[in-house]
């Protein structure tokens, strides 16, 4: 795949005084990818995004946007980028139309293209009916959508959205997610969120940031494969015999979780049918037989809580 690399970050560090907010973050984002940034509060997601958009200078490291060095030629690099910060940067004393037209001028959208660009952005974000209302009088959800409209107005190659669905109602969240997926086909998108299903619904790649470090970085397909279950959970009425279970075709190993519960690991085809038959044949009484699915949530909790537990143990020791 010769997809264009839209963002390349190399060894980003960021200090706030003695506090290290971002430590050695490197990654790439290609055209047609939607990258989800996950992480607990204060993990460094927003700081990383601010660095990528040139709002903060990194203490060390470099960023290339569409092949243009952000630190050397910030104006050209910023031209191919749209950014929605955590708090939508809207002027409350302007109407939606006035605001978007000002944003279009700031992003050097030509006079003749301004009208169509604003109309397109408004249509995409569902703002058609509020064009002439003051932003200050709009609800939080609408303000958020104005913020998104501002980020995609000039049709940038890279769109960076910091928690885009905060404050939206469930219908709007669905609209925005489908908008993100649609944009993701032709652009490169980074979005940060706390909402894990959102990542699973919209992203093609996932990165988990914890304490300023990148602790997990996989494509969604890779993640699905990793999460894709390689184990069955079995619960029976009578305690089963592990040795007999082991003999069932396709089962690699048996791990007893209790008197009547077992985890059966397998490699290859799902042996559920054979297991059920064996349970019936031995008269153990089948209560439950299910795939042991690890969710993104478990990965997230493992990666972001595990460390602090270890640290606590270290501190205690």
């Amino acid at each position: 795949m010769g997809a264009k690399i839209l963002i390349r970050a190399e060894g980003l560090y960021r200090h706030y005084g003695h506090y290290l907010a971002v430590e050695d973050i490197s990654f790439e984002l290609a055209q047609g990818e939607v990258l989800g940034f996950l992480g607990p509060n204060g993990a460094g997601k927003s700081t990383t995004m601010q660095i990528l958009t040139g709002n903060l200078a990194p203490s060390a490291g470099r960023v290339w946007i569409d092949g243009i060095d952000l630190l050397d030629r910030p104006r050209r690099a910023k031209a191919c980028m749209g950014y929605l910060p955590e708090q939508p940067p809207v002027y409350r004393d302007l109407t939606v139309d006035e605001y978007l037209s000002y944003c279009a001028r700031l992003h050097r959208v030509g006079r003749s293209q301004r009208g169509p660009a604003i109309r397109r952005a408004k249509a995409r974000c569902g703002l058609d009916s509020v064009g002439r209302r003051l932003i200050g009088n709009l609800s939080k959800g609408y303000q958020q959508r104005v913020g998104i409209a501002q980020a995609i107005l000039h049709n940038p190659a890279v769109v960076i959205l910091d928690e885009p669905t905060v404050g939206l109602d469930p219908n709007q969240i669905r609209d925005i997610r489908s908008l993100i997926r649609e944009l993701g086909e032709s652009h490169g998108i980074i979005l940060s969120t706390h909402i894990l299903p959102e990542v699973q619904a919209t992203c093609s790649h996932v990165q988990i940031i914890h304490q300023g470090r990148l602790v997990f970085s996989e494509s969604m397909a890779e993640l699905e494969r990793r999460l894709g279950s390689r184990a069955l959970l079995l619960e029976t009425r009578q305690p089963p015999d592990p040795a007999l279970l082991q003999e069932v075709a396709g089962v690699d190993s048996v791990e007893m979780l209790g008197e009547t519960r077992a985890r059966l690991h397998f490699d290859g085809d799902n042996p559920a049918e054979a297991v059920a038959a064996a349970v019936a044949a031995h008269g153990w009484g089948l209560v439950e037989l299910a795939l042991d699915r690890q969710t993104l949530e478990q990965v997230f909790v493992e990666l972001t809580c595990g460390d602090t537990d270890q640290e606590r143990e270290q501190e205690a020791a």
Binding site: N55, L56, P74, R76, D93, C103, L106, H107
Partner: protein, 250 residues
């Protein structure tokens, strides 16, 4: 790009009642002052007529009027410039400008120009009063122009100081008070009578007021022009440096 930001600043001023209130109040005060000044001139006129090279209507009516405008705006301009950056910082809208393909220099120049345009508008309104005298007499056009030029330079300097102070804080009121402090200090800096000639010279050069006076007398000297331009450049560069620094230190 600079112009787009400047026009946005100017519009923002007129979207709040602040700009309208300031224009109306100033116009009222100065109209009253103008009329009293005119009365004085009418009273003096018969006696002045006999004197060779006596001060004309421009010296007696227009010059004091412009001088008062300068002083009044020293007090009022901080209220106009205070929110130029601090509001954007507080509402987190500065991000919009910083992530747009616009350099910090362009942002600062745009904001400064927006303020200057407002002050020029204000001056244009005020200039109508002396100009109305043309209906009954003739003015010393050169003196009037030089006075207006001096005043616009002075107001631009106020704007530059105000823009800088506003970039330092998120609180508009803090910005206003620091601007007021800085401007008053620059206004009265030559009041101290030092015994040493050199110190006196330096302090006199630093004074905002002294340079305005020669403009009001119709004296256009490059030294005065340079003083205002230097002052403006200094504060604008300080603003640019400060905003750039904030990107580094957060």
């Amino acid at each position: 790009m600079v112009l787009a930001i400047a026009m946005r600043e100017l519009r923002a001023l007129f979207l709040s009642p602040l700009a309208w209130t300031i224009l109306a109040t100033l116009q009222l005060i100065l109209a009253y002052l103008f009329l009293t000044q005119l009365d004085t001139f009418m009273l003096l006129q018969p006696r002045l007529a006999g004197i060779e090279g006596a001060p004309g209507v421009t010296d007696i009516v227009v010059a004091p009027l412009l001088q008062t405008v300068g002083f009044l705006l020293l007090l009022i301009s901080p209220a106009i410039t205070m929110r130029v950056f601090s509001d954007e910082k507080r509402n987190r809208t500065l991000t919009l400008l910083l992530s747009a393909p616009v350099s910090i220099t362009e942002i600062v120049l745009g904001k400064f120009l927006g303020m200057v345009l407002f002050f020029l508008l204000l001056l244009a309104l005020l200039a109508l009063m002396p100009l109305s005298l043309y209906a009954g007499t003739t003015l010393d056009g050169g003196k009037l122009l030089s006075g207006l030029l001096g005043l616009s330079l002075l107001l631009s300097a106020f704007a530059a100081v105000g823009v800088y102070m506003s970039s330092l804080t998120e609180q508009p009121v803090v910005a206003a008070i620091s601007t007021l402090g800085a401007l008053i200090l620059l206004w009265i800096v030559d009041w101290s009578g030092s015994k040493r000639e050199q110190v006196n010279g330096v302090l006199q050069y630093l004074s905002l007021q002294g340079h305005l006076e020669s403009f009001l007398k119709g004296l256009f000297s490059t030294a005065d022009l340079a003083y205002y331009l230097l002052l403006i450049a200094t504060f604008l560069i300080l603003t640019i440096r400060h905003l750039d620094q904030q990107r580094l230190t957060g």
